[in-house]
């Protein structure tokens, strides 16, 4: 096997253009995909559950009433809503992929807003899936929520402005059910003026009493003004619930994605090409006559392709770490994830190579398979029908791309499914595709 490996390396060394392309092309694709992660469907589907009690639909702010519809109507202008009965249904809709995310308004939503202040109201957003999907959902949902928030903020702003007007010009405000008549800053000014005019008299203290009173009220209520304005900044706080898959920041997820894509292309193309070359050069029939047992021939190709690809991607990962902060303490895990993934891609490669008589046919087959696999593994669950999503999940599980992505992501970002689970999955695929390649070779060994 050593001689065959050496021979394949010599062949690669003499195929500079091919090898160059093999490295540049996947890296370019990987970077493009990794960093051009764009938006999904226009109108995402949200499972919606409101716990707000009947009759509690209004937000009361210093005597003014704002209907909560200001918030929800704005939200559902740009979102398809699926009304559900309880929290369990929200989780179910999200888990099945029928809804991209779930939105739950708590019972105290309006009262919290009514009270305002730092204790501001919150909503709960439920979503599912890997970093890419979560990031997509979060950006979609949070932009929708921000629009609704802004609508609410505009309404609250009007209230605040009115409030400030009363302080300035005088008028009635409602504080905890008590009607207060404020004389306003302007009138206070006039009053102080006249008080100064009759200074050094006993009446002075009497004249200044309302001013004192106003000062007290102002001091007491200026905090409320601050509270109101504070609420205006972000009236509704979003509480996130992640069903599965812990969160990786998008940029480090993109790194895992870029690494896995490069690994797949280099490995699959190289392994399938090296094997098909034996057929193209007619040397396979020489080797098949007992010079080289099929299993060892395949193992050699898998190891060579996997080794080359692992070196290229590992170097790429080290290069990327200069720009994206990665945890270097996990470098051993990176290596394990890349090495095992490389073997799985190599096994897929030789399975493809065992079907082709020429390198060109093998490369075409490899590309035609690898590209859709990568895209399939990235389809967010809420963006297709649940049945189709199940099919995609199965297809993704029987090819090495998704588990390799999980492994690399887990190694870099400590996400779930854990590295161990992903590596075991890859191990099973190595065995399956290795066996498929052997069967493929045997079919042609005597032809």
């Amino acid at each position: 096997m050593r001689w065959m490996l050496l021979k394949d390396l010599q062949i690669l060394r003499r195929s500079k253009l091919l090898v160059g392309l093999l490295i540049v092309y996947p890296v370019a694709i990987a970077l493009l995909i990794g960093f051009a992660l764009s938006s999904g469907p226009e109108k995402p589907r949200l499972a919606f559950l409101s716990h707000i009690p009947e009759g509690g639909q209004t937000i009361k702010l210093v005597g003014k009433k704002i209907d909560v519809k200001v918030y929800t109507d704005e939200l559902f202008r740009s979102v398809d809503r699926i009304d559900v009965e309880n929290r369990a249904q929200v989780l179910e809709k999200v888990r099945s992929g029928e809804a991209l995310a779930g939105l739950i308004l708590p019972p105290d939503f309006t009262t919290k807003l009514s009270n305002g202040g730092f204790n501001s109201a919150s909503v709960e957003v439920v979503y599912n899936g890997d970093a890419l999907k979560q990031s997509f959902v979060r950006s979609t949902v949070s932009s929708k929520l921000a629009q609704a928030d802004a609508a609410l903020a505009r309404t609250i702003n009007t209230v605040a402005t009115d409030y400030v007007d009363i302080f300035t010009n005088g008028g009635h405000i409602d504080v905890l059910g008590t009607d207060l008549n404020l004389i306003g800053l302007k009138k206070t000014n006039t009053l102080i003026d006249s008080a100064i005019a009759i200074a050094d008299k006993p009446q002075v203290s009497r004249k200044l009493a309302p001013v004192q009173n106003f000062a007290e009220l102002s001091v007491a209520n200026i905090d409320r003004v601050k509270d109101v304005l504070n609420t205006v900044e972000q009236p509704v706080k979003v509480n996130e619930t992640v069903l599965s898959g812990s969160r990786a920041p998008l940029d480090t997820f993109a790194v895992a994605l870029a690494v896995t894509i490069s690994l797949m292309f280099v490995c699959v193309l190289l392994a399938s090409g090296l094997l098909a070359l034996e057929r193209e050069e007619n040397t396979f029939s020489r080797l098949a006559r007992g010079l080289m047992p099929g299993g060892r021939l395949l193992a050699g190709k898998v190891m060579l392709a996997g080794g080359c690809a692992a070196v290229v991607t590992f170097a790429m990962l080290l290069g990327i770490s200069a720009f994206v902060p990665l945890d270097f303490g996990r470098v051993g895990l990176w290596f394990a994830a890349i090495a095992v993934s490389a073997l799985a891609f190599g096994a897929l490669g030789v399975a493809i190579g065992s079907l082709a008589r020429e390198v060109r046919a093998a490369s075409l087959l490899a590309l035609m398979l690898a590209l859709p696999l990568a895209f399939l593994a990235l389809v967010p669950s809420g963006s297709v029908s649940p049945a189709l999503y199940d099919v995609i999940r199965v297809v993704s599980a029987i090819f090495p791309f998704k588990p390799a992505l999980d492994a690399v992501n887990a190694a870099i970002n400590d996400t779930t499914p854990s590295l161990g689970v992903a590596l075991a999955h890859l191990g099973a695929l190595i065995v399956i595709f290795g066996a498929a390649a052997r069967a493929g070779l045997r079919r042609f060994a005597l032809a």
Binding site: W3, R14, T283, S285, R286, R289, M292, L446
Partner: protein, 244 residues
């Protein structure tokens, strides 16, 4: 030269070999044997089944029925030179020879490679990439790879087709040297004159059937050749008489 008589133990015995590709019966019930040091030419028109027959002897192709046996040295691999060159275009001549010598577990790799380079007259091209050689030179390397292990039985599928006359003479020179040392050689050819000149025996194959097995002189006699007609004309006449 060794006598090629039936008294010698056969190096290879072929019994009732048949092979079909779908409906097409490429080889039908072919039986013969080859003695040590014997040179057997398999002649026949295009598509007669020569390559299919040799592939079965080489173990590349599983026969539908029939057996191939090496009575004396059963473990030794039969040497095989395929019709289409089977060497690595991206390796040099020497690298190809060395690789296959190692895979064949030849005792002294360097000496064997040197000997093969010398026999094929390719010492000057030893470090050239095979893909950049002429077709004839590539064929010379292809033949050399088949000879590396010094096999007891050697199969050559149209070995001289791409060679110039000088290289042909050279090839026959070392094939004759091999048969003199006891190697049994089976080769396919369209070149009847070559078969007549070098082969001890000819096997005529047409549409997968073995129509004749004997010496060139016997073939001429069977074909009832007129005086002055050569073997080629006898051969064509022979096939025509039998409806091929």
């Amino acid at each position: 030269m060794l006598a090629h008589t039936a008294a010698l133990a056969p190096s290879l015995t072929v019994q009732g070999l048949s092979k079909s590709f779908g409906e097409r019966r490429a080889v039908r019930d072919v039986s013969f044997d080859v003695a040590r040091g014997e040179l057997l030419a398999v002649i026949g028109p295009n598509g007669a089944g020569k390559t299919t027959l040799l592939s079965m002897l080489a173990g590349i192709l599983e026969p539908d029925t029939g057996t191939v046996a090496q009575p004396d040295r059963t473990t030794a691999r039969i040497g095989w030179v395929p019709q289409q060159t089977a060497v690595y275009g991206k390796l040099t001549v020497a690298q190809n020879l060395r690789l296959f010598a190692k895979l064949e577990k030849v005792a002294d790799v360097d000496a064997t490679v040197r000997r093969m380079l010398e026999q094929t007259g390719l010492e000057q091209r030893a470090d050239d990439e095979l893909g950049k050689l002429s077709g004839g030179n590539r064929q010379r390397v292809n033949i050399a790879v088949g000879l590396l292990a010094d096999p007891p039985v050697l199969l050559l599928d149209e070995p001289s087709g791409a060679l110039d006359p000088r290289q042909r003479e050279r090839l026959w020179g070392f094939i004759t040297a091999l048969t003199d040392r006891g190697t049994a050689v089976i080769f396919c050819t369209h070149d009847i004159a070559e078969a007549e000149r070098h082969a001890h025996r000819v096997l005529v194959l047409a549409d997968g059937e073995a129509l004749f097995n004997g010496t060139a002189a016997e073939l001429k006699a069977v074909a009832d050749a007129d005086e002055g007609h050569d073997l080629e004309q006898a051969f064509v006449g022979f096939l025509r008489e039998r409806g091929h």
